[in-house]
């Protein structure tokens, strides 16, 4: 049995008898005696617990990522380096403050100070990111850090000041080092609640061996959902298999118009890759979750979780994607339309896992946009998510339609009668009015705290109207810097 080993603020720490479902936050505040990192919610929604972790396998080379330590289970850090707010200061005294800390103090970006350690660490990622060149990107970087005191203006200003500054700090030294491969792990403990095992296999053979030997296993990736079972529901997991050691799962390949997205690709990386190439995908990812969540969560985790909303799922369905399942016996393809079989269930069989998602970038005949409507624009679960796509021929007749909604049924689902109303009709306002009317008969949504059935149905229909306006000018429009809503609705970007 292995130990879990990782570096905190440059110092190695080794875990032997710590439960594998201990969160990094619990470990930092408890055994590590580093109480600077705070717990505000233990559900990845406030950011007070933010730390940065070095992602050595990131596309384009190692990078520091801000993550929610309240959701990460300690074995996921095996072989990695993290920094907490305590590790930034180069030397004691005010002169030793990290530039991020200095900027935040000078801007009066802290009042009560409880969100501040997390804010600082998100800003640390910002200062090592070269791509924060727009106001919306700054907001995207910081939206995972709730502050109840300042009203954000000083935090925004301090972030703007440090973004991309790449100071010569202790973290930049780590970026220059040769990336270490993810070491394998076979970890276990025993407690009053029973034995627990945690594996990080680093080869397909090792993976399938563990899967076969422990049929009751659960896969874990970024822990942004499974972590909630631990922190909110006290679920006892006895066999967890992390897929982070399989490099193949983190591959995002583009071959002409054909994309192959590994199940382990992080949402932040998919958002970057799709920003120019596939705006409907990046639009969905823009308000998908906080930066911290997108830095941890993976494509496979989101898809296999099979949430009824599952913001990525509608886009993949609209793309007509193919899901590739891997098993010890080989691979098989599952059409997107067949993947979601019911409420939180998929077509994956025992002994299988999702390896990658494949799809083609739509052709010039396509009109395609995605929408995510929620109570709060940033960091909120959709009331309604939609990916709407039509193919239009040279005579402006719609030849194919894929209208896929999340939040309207037990699974992400196509609006078949609305699609039927579109196909064969001209690409014109009247057609989309007919589609809007038809959507109502496609779904019987439920009411919950995110929106009533009335709201969901009304928005689902209205998105048809917005879609027509949005794609009338540009086939696959991008979101403006600060849209008033997910729908552009004909306003100038």
């Amino acid at each position: 049995m292995d130990c879990v080993t990782f570096h905190v603020n440059g110092r190695e720490t080794t875990l032997r008898d710590v439960s594998p479902t201990t969160t990094l936050l619990q470990y930092l505040r408890g055994p590590m005696r580093l109480p600077g990192t705070k717990e505000g919610c233990a559900e990845g929604d406030c950011g007070a617990c933010t730390v940065v972790v070095l992602d050595a396998q990131a596309p384009g080379g190692p990078r520091w990522r801000a993550v929610n330590s309240c959701l990460l289970l300690v074995p996921l850090l095996h072989g990695k380096q993290i920094f907490t707010v305590e590790g930034l200061r180069e030397k004691p005294g005010d002169e030793g403050l990290h530039p991020v800390q200095r900027a935040l103090v000078d801007a009066l970006g802290s009042q009560c100070g409880y969100c501040t350690p997390g804010v600082v660490m998100s800003m640390v990622e910002a200062c090592h990111r070269p791509d924060l060149d727009a106001e919306w990107k700054l907001d995207d970087q910081m939206c995972g850090n709730l502050c109840r005191c300042t009203g954000y203006r000083p935090i925004r200003e301090a972030t703007r000041e440090v973004a991309g500054s790449r100071p010569p700090d202790r973290l930049s030294a780590a970026l220059a080092q040769k990336p270490e491969p993810q070491p394998a792990l076979d970890y276990g403990t025993d407690s009053a609640r029973g034995p627990q095992r945690f594996w990080i296999p680093t080869s397909w053979a090792a993976l399938f061996e563990v899967m076969e030997a422990h049929p009751g296993h659960r896969f874990i990736q970024g822990a942004t959902d499974l972590g909630l079972d631990v922190t909110k529901h006290g679920t006892h997991f006895d066999a967890l298999i992390s897929l982070q050691g399989l490099d193949a799962l983190r591959t995002l390949e583009v071959d002409g118009t054909r994309w192959s997205v590994g199940a382990g690709v992080k949402l932040a990386d998919l958002e970057d890759a799709s920003d120019e190439a596939l705006p409907p995908l990046s639009r969905m990812l823009r308000f998908f979750g906080s930066r911290q969540i997108k830095n941890s969560a993976t494509v496979g985790g989101n898809v296999c979780n099979a949430s009824p909303i599952g913001d990525l799922a509608p886009v993949f369905l609209a793309l007509g994607a193919t899901f590739i399942a891997a098993a010890a016996t080989g691979e098989r393809s599952i059409a997107a339309d067949d993947f979601f079989t019911g409420y939180r269930t998929t077509a994956l069989a025992a002994g299988e896992l999702l390896a990658r998602v494949e799809f083609d970038i739509p052709q010039a005949s396509a009109r395609f946009a995605s929408y995510k409507v929620s109570k709060r624009r940033e960091m909120d679960i959709s009331a309604v998510a939609a990916a709407l796509r039509v193919e239009v021929d040279d005579n402006d007749i719609i030849t194919d339609a894929r209208f896929v909604y999340g939040g309207m049924a037990a699974t992400p689902a196509r609006a078949h009668s609305a699609e039927a109303a579109a196909v064969g009709s001209p690409f014109a306002e009247a057609t989309f009015e007919a589609c809007a009317a038809a959507v109502a008969s496609d779904f019987t949504p439920m009411s919950d705290h995110r929106g009533s059935a009335w709201y969901r149905s009304t928005v689902a229909a209205n998105l048809m109207r917005g879609f027509y306006l949005d794609v009338s000018g540009t086939p696959m429009p991008r979101l403006s810097d600060r849209p008033s809503g997910t729908v552009l609705g004909g306003t100038p970007a």
Binding site: P117, G234, G451, W454
Partner: protein, 782 residues
């Protein structure tokens, strides 16, 4: 930001937050960060699953059997009195016979670690025979379930004024609750001392209440208990009265086990157990003359107090006191009732009822503006308080014209925000845009400063000068992020004539300053500032003869000595001596170098029976112009710009005050637009964490946020001409409702019902019109 310290005094100068470096390095310690002594225990609270019912059985055997559990306490284990409450002692710390809301504490489990305590808490069996419960204001009205008889304020003949009005409007408005969502949840750590005494570290705005209630629960004198408040990770009113139960439970643990006991609530427990901002129902009837001046106003207010009294009656009082906001109302009749329901006991929250009262009035103003076809900003300005006789508040207090800044602020802001020009631009934009409409909202505010329970307007301080010239400052206020310590440091350094580096603000503790009032009602720096100034000035005057002696000056020359920047100087002779040397010599000469200071606000008082008096020492003013953009397809909106001009008197520390203005405004916008507290029909809460309860995130705040403090506006009688700032800016946010209504008028729905908070669904319902009311709203759904 460049700080430009004045070498002579830090007063009125920009400064950084006293704890800023501690915050950004993680070194600032909060209660839950405290190193625990060996054997310390962690508490978990067992709560009621029923909204109302009789407890028929409680069984702790299974919980006690869990390895690591030290004790499980029920009501009968309380050695003193099992009743607490900030005004009326009407809350059992642990329910003994009856439960009144889902989330009410019934038992507390202590174990060697939190996870074990929480696991064991789930094993405590509580059987309840359910009783009918009241789950809404309407249900309480139906059942006539009120905390107290109505509070009435009346003047003139409101009915006649409404009858004779050129135009009259009537309507009903409901405004929802708000969770405080302080980032630091409730926390208390009780530590055993000798002889049955104990020290409680509490994240509370009211250490004296914690001290007294712990003493009550344990049946000991207050002298046996010290409450210390290192700092809070946010309070906003939520830790004024509701930090007390956690401290009492921790103390109960210490009493029985003799070990240190911590009670820290995770977010779910915090949001289930503690009360929130009061939801209100308001019914208004307003009459206007042809110029838009209000001639009469009748308002009935109903608040949802929750299950116990807590601070609900003073909250209702403040709501009634702000039904005038900035406007003179000649004839009026206001009535307020606090409804007792089976919900968590709603409590103080920034504004303390003021926002709920004002929002009702302001909707009446919007309604009147539409009825009369007058621009809503103009209508408001025409109704401002002014010279006599238009200078009397509904409760009879003078709103002195000499200090009334409404007109100045209005004129300046209309100009700087280009209200008229932008309004025209917006009308043009809306005419040409089908699905996206914009709106502009103007909101002036006047907010009364003082605890309306007049005896609370007192404060104390204790200042210690050491022989090396350094200073420890103790005062009765607590630091929750608002910058109170930074301001008190500034006042102390100014009065003593030392640099801020020479002064250390000490942990707030009840063994340093006794019998304190809560840090609340925006009063922290007004009250404590006067006490700190008094204590510091007393010490300075004791040191003056010592300095004069060192400089060989006579008594007349001593009066000319200036204490500034760590040096005592005599300008006429250009002689000087360092403050530290004066301190050393004071000690050598056996001069006492500690002093207390005390302050009681003069001349405040209010008579509930007659609905009249002088509840406030003075008024704070401000105004905002904010612009929104609304998406008609989804109901989503965003604020694109806000211009604020706020009156903080002559700011003690302008950088701190700006932070309060911005933070308060954004918090208010959250209350009115995205924060929705939801319960199921059975009274169980839906919104128990940030995944379901949405406070503003960074993107919800306009990038174009222009905040100015009103210049040259000293407030007489307040410490160094400053003014309270904690709560008033919160109410500026009501401008967003007016802005949204303007946008709605672009959709042809000027008169639509707009439910608050104005979530995307609420806005879409308004846009889609009355037919959308047929289906169920989220309040009833899930």
């Amino acid at each position: 930001m460049k700080m430009q310290p004045n070498p002579r005094s830090p007063l009125h100068q920009p400064a950084l937050h006293d704890s800023g470096v501690g915050h950004v390095t993680g070194e600032a310690r909060y209660v839950d960060d405290w190193p625990l002594p060996p054997g310390a225990l962690h508490g978990a609270i067992v709560t009621s699953a029923h909204a109302h019912g009789r407890i028929t059985r409680r069984d702790r055997a299974a919980a006690q059997a869990v390895d690591g559990v030290s004790a499980v306490f029920f009501a009968e284990d309380i050695p003193g009195t099992n009743l607490i409450g900030p005004i009326v002692h009407d809350e059992e710390l642990l329910a003994s016979a009856t439960v009144h809301y889902v989330g009410q504490p019934v038992a507390v489990v202590f174990a060697s670690d939190l996870e074990t305590a929480q696991r064991a808490a789930a094993l405590v069996e509580v059987d309840v025979d359910p009783l009918p419960s009241l789950q809404s204001i309407d249900a309480a009205i139906e059942a006539q379930s009120y905390l107290a008889p109505p509070h009435m304020i009346a003047r003139g003949d409101a009915d006649a004024a409404l009858k004779d009005a050129h135009a009259s409007v009537r309507g009903e408005i409901r405004v929802g609750g708000q969770d405080h969502f302080y980032l630091e949840t409730q926390a208390a750590l009780a530590l055993p001392e000798e002889n049955g005494c104990l020290t409680v570290l509490s994240s509370t705005q009211h250490p004296t209440e914690v001290q007294n209630e712990v003493a009550t629960i344990l049946g000991v004198g207050s002298h046996a208990v010290v409450c210390e408040v290192p700092r809070m990770g946010g309070g906003f009113g939520g830790k004024e009265s509701q930090a007390t139960p956690m401290a009492c439970m921790a103390a109960l643990g210490v009493h029985h086990t003799g070990r240190a006991c911590k009670v820290w609530l995770d977010r779910d427990a915090d949001m289930r157990i503690t009360g929130k901002r009061h939801p209100f129902l308001g019914r208004y009837e307003a009459g206007f003359d042809q110029d838009g001046q209000i001639t009469g106003l009748k308002v009935e207010l109903y608040s949802d107090a929750g299950w116990s009294a807590d601070l609900s009656l003073p909250v209702l009082d403040r709501a009634l006191f702000h039904l005038d906001n900035a406007y003179f109302i000649p004839a009026l009749r206001f009535q307020g009732l606090a409804c007792r329901t089976n919900r968590p006991s709603n409590t103080a929250f920034r504004g303390f009822g003021g926002p709920q009262g004002m929002v009702v009035l302001e909707e009446a103003m919007n309604h009147g503006a539409r009825a009369l076809g007058i621009d809503p900003a103009q209508l408001r300005a025409r109704n401002f308080y002014g010279a006599a006789p238009r200078d009397r508040a509904p409760y009879g207090q003078e709103v002195p014209a000499a200090h009334n800044r409404l007109g100045t602020i209005h004129d300046s802001l209309m100009d700087s925000s280009d209200y008229a020009g932008r309004k025209a631009e917006i009308e043009a934009f809306n005419a040409g845009s089908r699905w996206v409409k914009r709106g502009l909202g103007y909101q002036p505010i006047k907010f009364g400063i003082s605890f309306t329970k007049s005896i609370l307007n007192q404060a104390g301080a204790l200042v210690l000068v050491y022989a090396d010239g350094t200073v420890q400052l103790n005062h009765g206020g607590t630091e929750m992020g608002q910058g109170l310590h930074t301001k008190m440091l500034t006042v102390c350094a100014h009065e003593l004539g030392v640099t801020v580096d020479a002064v250390r603000v000490m942990t707030t503790a009840t063994d340093k300053v006794p019998n304190t009032s809560a840090t609340a009602a925006s009063s922290g720096s007004d009250l404590n500032g006067q006490a700190v100034a008094a204590a510091s000035a007393e010490l300075r005057e004791r040191m003056r003869p010592v300095a004069a002696g060192l400089l060989e000056l006579d008594a007349a020359a001593a009066a000319e000595l200036r204490f500034e920047g760590g040096v005592v100087t005599h300008p006429p002779s250009a002689k000087s001596v360092p403050f530290a040397e004066v301190a050393t010599n004071a000690w050598l000469q056996r001069v006492s170098l500690s002093a207390t200071g005390f302050y009681a606000t003069p001349g405040v008082g209010y008579d509930h029976a007659t609905g009249s008096g002088t509840p406030f020492f003075y008024f704070a003013y401000g105004a905002v112009v904010c612009e929104v953009e609304v998406n008609g397809l989804t109901g989503e909106h965003r604020m694109t710009r806000a211009d604020i001009l706020h009156d903080v008197g002559t700011s003690l520390v302008p950088t701190i005050d700006r932070g309060q203005v911005e933070g308060g405004f954004v918090q208010g916008v959250g209350w009115l637009t995205c924060e929705e507290v939801l319960f199921r029909d059975d009274g169980s809460p839906v919104t128990t964490g940030p995944s379901t309860y949405k406070i503003p995130a960074v993107g919800d705040v306009p990038v174009d946020l222009r905040v100015d403090l009103l210049p040259k506006a000293p407030q007489p009688g307040v410490v160094h001409g400053s003014k309270a700032v904690g709560e008033p800016p919160f109410m500026l946010a009501i401008g967003v409702v007016t802005a949204l209504r303007h946008a709605l008028s672009g959709f042809g729905q000027a008169d639509a019902k707009l439910g608050l908070p104005a979530t995307p669904e609420s806005i879409l319902r308004a846009i889609e019109g009355p037919q959308s009311d047929r289906s169920s709203g989220p309040q009833r759904a899930l």
